[in-house]
């Protein structure tokens, strides 16, 4: 399985980079949506590690994304004048890594309170962290405060977004499917039983937060260099909810379903632009109805791997 998965990884990255060479032939609008889809896949799959596989409930994913986005954007804005254009892909790679690492560091600090919290408390604390991060950026003059950070280079191409999406999916899927990763699912299923079996729930929860935050930070960095503008209001509670809905719709803990949901929920609002005022009403109704009728998610079929745990 591992060998096969690695082949998929290489094929996916190769395909993403291959397509990116053709990107100048595509309609710019569709290309933009395709990049959005890639970024949202990273966000949804990384949140799925926390909310799905590990069974925690984080409402602060947009906060991690903001940390990664702002860090990377500030980094490239500061350094790009002194770096020759030929080296800009390297600079971008460094910015993506840095964004991810700083977000992971913040993830660690959010992960630590989870040692004592579960369920609703955890949800509200992660929500609080997300809000605090937003308030901090709103007041930080160095990153433009409330008026936002402008003039970020447009470096996120199709190749970057999708190859990183493939890498994210591969990393998280292999992590969860590894011997070590079974611990995430054990913590999800029953924390007490898991710790009785020698699985350290604290370690798994913190790991989930750190890894999830890392990829959210990378997604934020990609987002910053795609939209070329960052505003603190773009990372509010609603952004976190957007990502949570992708995970719920796809089926918590189901990678394939979550990817499908991320694609659907990025493309659908674009297609339904004329009905934008109904979009969020439908979203919220969808959450309520799904929880009543199909709490395991819409795209949770036996077709996509092993049976669900609920």
């Amino acid at each position: 399985m591992n060998q096969g998965a690695k082949r998929w990884l290489l094929a996916g990255v190769a395909l993403a980079i291959g397509v990116s060479f053709l990107s100048s032939y595509f309609n710019r609008y569709y290309l933009g949506v395709a990049i959005d889809v890639g970024i949202n896949i990273i966000l949804a799959v990384s949140l799925n590690l926390i909310n799905g596989h590990t069974g925690q409930f984080s409402l602060g994913h947009a906060g991690f994304m903001a940390v990664g986005g702002y860090t990377a954007a500030k980094f490239t804005l500061e350094l790009s004048p002194s770096v020759p254009p030929a080296l800009s892909p390297l600079l971008f790679l460094a910015a993506l890594t840095l964004g991810g690492l700083v977000a992971a560091l913040v993830g660690l600090s959010v992960g630590v309170p989870t040692l004592r919290l579960r369920g609703d408390y955890l949800a509200i604390v992660t929500l609080g962290f997300g809000e605090i991060i937003r308030v901090v950026f709103q007041n930080l003059e160095a990153v433009g405060a409330a008026s936002g950070l402008k003039g970020i280079a447009n470096w996120t191409g199709f190749g970057w977004a999708w190859s990183l999406a493939v890498i994210t999916v591969f990393t998280i899927a292999s992590l969860v499917n590894s011997t070590y990763g079974r611990g995430f699912i054990a913590v999800h299923d029953d924390e007490v039983a898991a710790s009785a079996m020698g699985v350290n729930p604290v370690r798994y929860k913190v790991t989930a937060f750190v890894v999830g935050a890392f990829f959210a930070g990378v997604a934020g960095a990609l987002y910053a260099h795609h939209k070329q503008f960052l505003s603190p209001t773009g990372f509010d509670f609603m952004k976190s909810i957007d990502i949570v809905v992708m995970v719920i719709l796809g089926g918590m803990g189901r990678t394939a379903g979550v990817i499908l949901a991320a694609i659907l929920l990025t493309v659908l609002p674009e297609a339904l632009r004329d009905f934008a005022s109904y979009r969020m009403i439908l979203y919220s109704l969808l959450i309520i109805v799904l929880m009543m009728v199909r709490p395991q998610g819409l795209f949770n079929w036996p077709l996509f791997g092993n049976a669900t745990r609920h």
Partner: protein, 311 residues
């Protein structure tokens, strides 16, 4: 300005009064969170939207009530308050009936997600132009306004009325919870669901009653909040709602006196922090920072008692 010292002291007193008013409003909202948590063990995210609906109910009721009670009179304000509270009680009961009751025995996470869904549903439907629309509307002045001057201190009648209304409601609530049959049933359900059920307590009725009571308090809080806010809009409930939730956790969730204490502490802290230059910009973050600190060091809250989880 005569000298810096007395005016600074006056300023301090003024902040104290403002903080007390704000804290009373938080306390009223926090009571709803804490009561529902007591009987159902989950956070009713839609509570902050009931607060908004209360303000809107008053907004639409005010012109109608003017027909038979003079404008800006205490009788009229009381009538509006009671009517809006009744409307919200019905809404609260309906929310529980339609959204939460079918999920009563499901995992807690499912109910939590549903509660978020309900909250978003109310917010976004109300923002739609066919219902309230997203714009901010000026809230009518329901009360005659006086200002009292005590030395250099200016006290608006509003600042006295808010803690007063809160106190009256708290006395009523205390009476209901401690001295009536349904209140006893509420405490029984909060203490032990199954045992209460075996003793013949009608759980469904108690839960409906709890939602009704909490929502009525939220409606009053919403109106009091709207009186001082620049206007009302469908998202107005989110910020006070979140603060009140923090207040409930601060006092120890499930604990009624704790919710009041938490509300007052939070209101005072926030008002004083808002007066300090440099920190005032971070006001929105303060409540959450406090929340995280409490949960780290005293997860059961100020008045709550830690519970050992049994397997």
């Amino acid at each position: 300005m005569v000298s810096a010292d007395p005016s600074a002291q006056m300023n301090w007193l003024q902040q104290l009064i403002n903080g007390f008013g704000l804290g009373s409003i938080y306390a009223l909202i926090a009571l709803g969170y804490t009561m529902v948590y007591g009987v159902l063990r989950f956070i009713n995210f839609a509570h902050s939207d009931v607060l908004m609906l209360g303000a809107f109910a008053a907004f639409f009721l005010a012109p109608k009530v003017e027909g038979f009670v003079p404008r800006q009179s205490y009788a009229g304000a009381l009538l509006i308050l009671v009517l809006a509270a009744a409307v919200c009680a019905v809404i609260g009961i309906l929310i529980e009936r339609l959204a939460y009751r079918p999920l009563r025995n499901r995992p807690k996470l499912t109910v939590l997600i549903t509660a978020i869904g309900v909250s978003l549903f109310i917010e976004f439907s109300c923002q739609h132009r066919a219902i309230f629309g997203a714009q901010t509307r000026p809230f009518p002045k329901l009360l005659p306004e006086h200002t009292f001057h005590v030395g250099e201190l200016t006290i608006a009648s509003y600042d006295i009325m808010v803690p007063l209304v809160t106190m009256v409601l708290l006395v009523i609530l205390w009476f209901v919870v401690q001295r009536t049959r349904i209140g006893t049933a509420m405490r029984a359900v909060a203490y032990n669901h199954q045992a209460a059920c075996l003793m013949g307590v009608n759980i469904d009725r108690v839960i409906s009653f709890t939602f009704g009571l909490g929502s009525a308090l939220a409606a009053v809080a919403g109106i009091l909040y709207a009186l001082k806010a620049p206007g009302i809009e469908p998202l107005m409930g989110i910020q006070p709602g979140l603060r009140a939730f923090v207040a409930a956790v601060l006092g120890g969730i499930g604990n009624l006196p704790g919710a009041v204490l938490g509300g007052l502490v939070l209101g005072l802290l926030e008002t004083f922090a808002g007066g300090i230059p440099g920190i005032s910009n971070y006001r929105d973050g303060i409540a959450f920072a406090i929340l995280i600190l409490i949960l780290l060091f005293r997860p059961a809250g100020l008045l709550g008692r830690a519970q050992v989880e049994k397997v």
